[in-house]
C-alpha cells in the first residue's frame, strides 16, 4: 500500500487511540493538517503553541492518557518549550509533533528553521528527528510507548516537510521494542519484607506521597496501606488527591506552604515512607534538618530519584501501584496488633500541633482569597477538577480545596509556570466533558495566556475561571514584604484589564464580587452557568500564604500568621 508520511502518521495515531490533538498549523505541517481533516481526529486550535502543550498536559492528567500536540517548525516549536518543560518536570505523558524544514535544507538556516531536537533535548524524556518516511511509523509508536511507560514524560517527534510528503510502501508494525529501555515495575521483595519490619517497629511513622501515586494510579493501594497500618499521611503538591483529603489520617500538604502539623511531623517522625516522590527542595527545605531522626523508605520507578537529594535507608525501585499492592498483601499476613493504641501518643502529638496552628484566616470587610476557595470547595462538594495558575492562587487552591480523588488537581508543580491553568483547563474539560472544571487564577497569571479564552469560546467549553484579584504578583510581593522590607519592585500590576468586559469580549460571562457577602451568590451564579465564566474576586491586596518555610530554612522553622 502506497502512503504518504502524513497518511502513515494518521494511521498510527488512530492505532494509538488518539482522539484529540492540540495544535497550531504552519507551513511545514500543512500536509499533515490536510490529512488530519480527513480523519475523525479532533483538532483543537489553541492561540499560542505553549498552550497546545499545556492543554495536552491537562488532558493527559484529567483523562489518564497520552496528550498529543502538533505545531509547525521554528517559532511554533520554540513556543512549545515552556509547555514541554512543565510536562517534563511533572512527568506527564505528552507526545509533541513539530514540523521541520525539508531534510535537504536542515542546517542551512532556512526560513522557520531551528534545531528543535537540540533545543528540547534536556526537557524531553526522549526526542527524535525523523529522517526518512520509512522510519516514521516506528518512531511514532516508540514515542507513545516511551511517553506513557516507566516514569512518564514528554516525547518530541520532529518531522521534516518531505518526510510527511514522500510516498512509501507501508507495512503496519506490530509492537515496539527498545533494547535499552525496560523500566522496573516490580519491586525487590526482600526490601518489602524489611519495610514490613520497619512499619511494625515504628513509633512515629509518616507517609509522604507524591505525584508518582497519581501517575501510576495507586491511590486505592495507598489508601489501603495507610488505613491498614494507621500511618498518618501527607503529600507533596503533586500528590494531592492521591489520598482522600477528608480522611482522618490526612495531615494536609507538606513543604514550603504545607500545614504546620505536616511539617512538624516530618521533623519529628522516626520513619518516613516516601512513595512516588522526588524530595524536591520546596518540600525538604534545608536538607540536613529534613526528617533528622527518621529512617527513610523510598519507592520510585525512576532510580535517579532515589538518593538524589536525601540519603535513604531502604531504596525500592518499582511502580507505586505494583509495589504497594504487593506490600499490602505482605501486611495482610502480619499481626499488626492494635495500631490505634500503639500510635496513640503520636496521634495525640499531631492533634496538638493541629489545634495550636491550624490553617486559618480571618474574613473581615474585604474578601479573603482563602474564603473564595473554601466557598468554592463547599459549593462544588469537592467534585470539580481544579486547575491552577502559579503563585499564591496555586497555594490557596492546594490548602483550602480538599481533594478526595486523584486527577482532580492539575497544576504546574515542578516548573511552576504561570499561564498554565487556563489551557490545562481546556484539556481537562475535553478529557472529562461532564465534569465541572475550574481554573483558580491570579490577576497576574491569568494574563499570561488569557488569549485562550478564544479557544474556550471556539470549542464551546463551560470552563470557569476564578480570579483572586489582588492587583499584585502576589507571591513575589509576599517575599518582598517578608524579606525585602516591603519594597514592591515591579510586582504591582497596574492597568489590569476589566476582566468582566474581557470575558464578554471573548463571548463568556463576566462577573465581579467586591464584598464578602457577594462571594457565595456570585459563585453559585457562575458555577452553575452552562457557559464559560470569568469570576473576578477583588480580594485583600496584601494577604500572604501561611505557613511559610523561608527558602533554605528547616521544615520546622515555619513563619506562621
Amino acid at each position: 500500500m502506497k502512503l504518504t508520511g502524513a497518511q502513515i502518521m494518521m494511521k498510527v495515531l488512530k492505532e494509538e487511540g488518539v482522539e484529540i490533538i492540540f495544535g497550531y498549523p504552519g507551513g511545514v505541517v500543512i500536509d499533515i493538517y490536510d490529512e488530519m481533516e480527513r480523519t475523525d481526529i479532533r483538532h483543537v486550535l489553541v492561540r499560542q503553541e505553549a498552550c497546545a502543550v499545556h492543554a495536552a498536559d491537562g488532558y493527559a492528567r484529567a483523562g489518564n492518557r497520552v496528550g498529543v500536540c502538533l505545531v509547525t517548525s521554528g517559532p511554533g516549536a520554540t513556543n512549545t518549550v515552556t509547555g514541554i518543560a512543565s510536562a517534563y518536570m511533572d512527568s506527564i505523558p505528552v507526545v509533541i509533533f513539530t514540523g521541520q524544514v525539508p531534510t535537504h535544507l536542515i542546517g542551512n538556516d532556512a526560513f522557520q528553521e531551528v534545531d528543535t531536537v537540540g533545543i528540547t533535548r534536556p526537557i524531553t524524556k526522549h526526542n527524535y528527528l525523523v529522517k526518512r518516511t520509512e522510519d516514521l511509523a516506528k518512531i511514532i509508536k516508540e514515542a507513545f510507548y516511551l511517553a506513557s511507560s516507566g516514569r512518564p514524560g514528554p516525547v518530541l517527534v520532529d518531522i521534516p516537510k518531505d518526510v510527511s510528503v514522500n510516498q512509501i510502501d507501508y507495512k503496519p508494525l506490530e509492537k515496539v521494542k527498545l533494547k535499552s529501555y525496560s523500566p522496573t515495575y516490580s519491586p525487590n521483595v526482600k526490601q518489602l519484607h524489611q519495610v514490613v519490619k520497619m512499619i511494625k517497629k515504628a513509633k512515629k511513622p509518616i507517609i509522604f506521597a507524591g505525584g508518582g501515586v497519581i501517575l501510576s494510579r495507586a491511590a486505592n493501594e495507598l489508601t489501603e496501606l495507610a488505613r491498614k497500618t494507621q500511618i498518618p499521611l501527607t503529600t507533596s503538591l503533586m500528590g494531592l488527591g492521591g489520598f482522600p483529603g477528608s480522611d482522618p489520617l490526612w495531615l494536609g500538604m507538606v513543604g514550603m506552604h504545607g500545614t504546620y502539623r505536616s511539617n512538624m511531623s516530618i521533623g519529628e517522625c522516626d520513619l518516613l515512607f516516601g512513595i512516588g516522590v522526588r524530595f524536591d527542595d520546596r518540600v525538604t527545605g534545608r536538607i540536613d534538618a529534613f526528617a533528622p531522626n527518621a529512617k527513610i523508605i523510598h519507592i520510585d520507578i525512576d532510580p535517579t530519584s532515589i538518593r538524589k537529594n536525601i540519603p535513604v535507608t531502604v531504596p525500592i525501585v518499582g511502580d507505586c501501584k505494583v509495589t504497594l499492592a504487593h506490600l499490602n498483601k505482605l501486611l495482610d499476613k502480619e499481626d499488626l496488633g492494635d495500631l490505634k493504641k500503639t500510635r496513640k501518643q503520636w496521634f495525640d502529638q499531631i492533634e496538638h500541633w493541629q489545634s495550636t496552628k491550624p490553617l486559618a484566616y480571618e474574613q473581615k470587610d474585604v474578601i479573603k482569597p482563602q474564603f473564595v476557595v473554601e466557598k468554592l470547595y463547599e459549593l462544588t462538594k469537592g467534585d470539580a477538577i481544579i486547575t491552577t495558575e502559579v503563585g499564591q492562587n496555586q497555594m490557596w487552591a492546594a490548602q483550602y480545596y480538599h481533594y478526595d480523588r486523584p486527577n482532580h488537581f492539575i497544576t504546574s508543580g515542578g516548573l511552576g509556570c504561570m499561564g498554565f491553568g487556563l489551557p490545562a483547563a481546556i484539556g481537562a474539560q475535553l478529557a472529562c466533558p461532564d465534569k465541572l472544571v475550574v481554573d483558580i487564577a491570579g490577576d497576574g497569571s491569568i494574563q499570561m495566556n488569557i488569549q485562550e479564552m478564544a479557544t474556550v469560546a471556539q470549542c464551546n467549553l463551560p470552563i470557569k475561571v476564578v480570579i483572586l484579584n489582588n492587583g499584585y504578583l502576589g507571591m513575589v510581593r509576599q517575599w518582598q514584604q517578608l524579606f525585602f522590607d516591603k519594597r514592591y519592585a515591579s510586582t504591582c500590576m497596574e492597568h489590569a484589564p476589566d476582566f468582566v468586559k474581557l470575558a464578554e469580549a471573548y463571548g463568556a460571562v463576566g462577573l465581579r464580587a467586591t464584598k464578602p457577602e457577594e462571594v457565595e451568590p456570585l459563585l453559585k451564579e457562575g458555577l452553575f452557568s452552562k457557559k464559560a465564566v470569568i469570576m473576578d474576586f477583588v480580594v485583600e491586596k496584601e494577604e500572604c500564604v501561611y505557613p511559610m518555610i523561608p527558602a533554605g530554612a528547616a521544615a520546622t522553622e515555619m513563619l506562621l500568621v
Partner: protein, 161 residues
C-alpha cells in the same frame, strides 16, 4: 572524598547520542575528565569510555542518569575491578642536533615510536596508562614540546565479559 571513575558505556551508534551524554554532564554539573568514543564490532553500537570524578553519591547519580538515557544500552563502572586501560598521545618535540640522541634513547626506554621526523622536530607516538604518559612528558618537557594530542583513556574488563 572525590573519586575518579572510569565508565565504559555502550550506546546506540546514532547522531545526537554524544550530545545527549555531554548535555547530561553539563546540565547537571558533572565532570568529564576525558571521553573517547568509537564504533564497536556491531556497527549499530558505539563504546564510550568516560573518566569522571565526584563523591560517591554523585558517581551513583551519574551512572543512574546515564542509564536513564534511552540511547544508553549499558553502563559499566570499571573502577575497583580488574581492567586494562590505555591512552595514546602524539607528541611533537623540538629536536635540535644536541638533543636528538637523548630523545631517541628516551623513546627506546619508553617503547614508543617516532612517526614523523623534520629538520627540527620529532613526532613521538606513545601508548600506555596515564602514569607512563605523564612520566614521558616530564622527561620531554625540558627538551621542548611543540604540540601534543592525547586521546583520553580507553579501557576494558580483563575477564571475558
Amino acid at each position: 572524598m572525590e573519586e575518579k571513575h572510569i565508565l565504559s558505556i555502550l550506546v546506540d551508534n546514532e547522531p545526537g547520542v554524544l550530545s545527549r551524554i555531554s548535555g547530561l554532564f553539563s546540565g547537571r554539573g558533572f565532570n568529564i575528565e576525558s571521553l573517547c568514543v568509537a564504533e564497536t564490532m556491531d556497527p549499530l553500537i558505539s563504546r564510550l569510555t568516560l573518566v569522571t570524578t565526584g563523591e560517591p553519591p554523585i558517581i551513583e547519580q551519574i551512572e543512574k542518569q546515564l542509564n536513564k538515557l534511552i540511547n544508553v544500552i549499558k553502563v559499566h563502572d570499571l573502577t575497583g575491578k580488574e581492567y586494562v586501560q590505555r591512552e595514546m598521545a602524539l607528541i611533537k618535540v623540538v629536536a635540535k642536533p644536541e638533543h636528538r640522541a637523548e630523545i631517541l634513547r628516551t623513546v627506546d626506554i619508553f617503547r614508543c615510536k617516532i612517526v614523523d621526523v623534520g629538520p627540527d622536530h620529532y613526532t613521538i607516538e606513545v601508548t600506555g596508562d596515564e602514569g607512563k604518559l605523564s612520566a614521558l612528558l616530564n622527561l620531554l618537557k625540558p627538551i621542548g614540546i611543540k604540540e601534543i594530542a592525547r586521546t583520553g583513556m580507553i579501557a576494558l574488563f580483563r575477564d571475558p565479559k
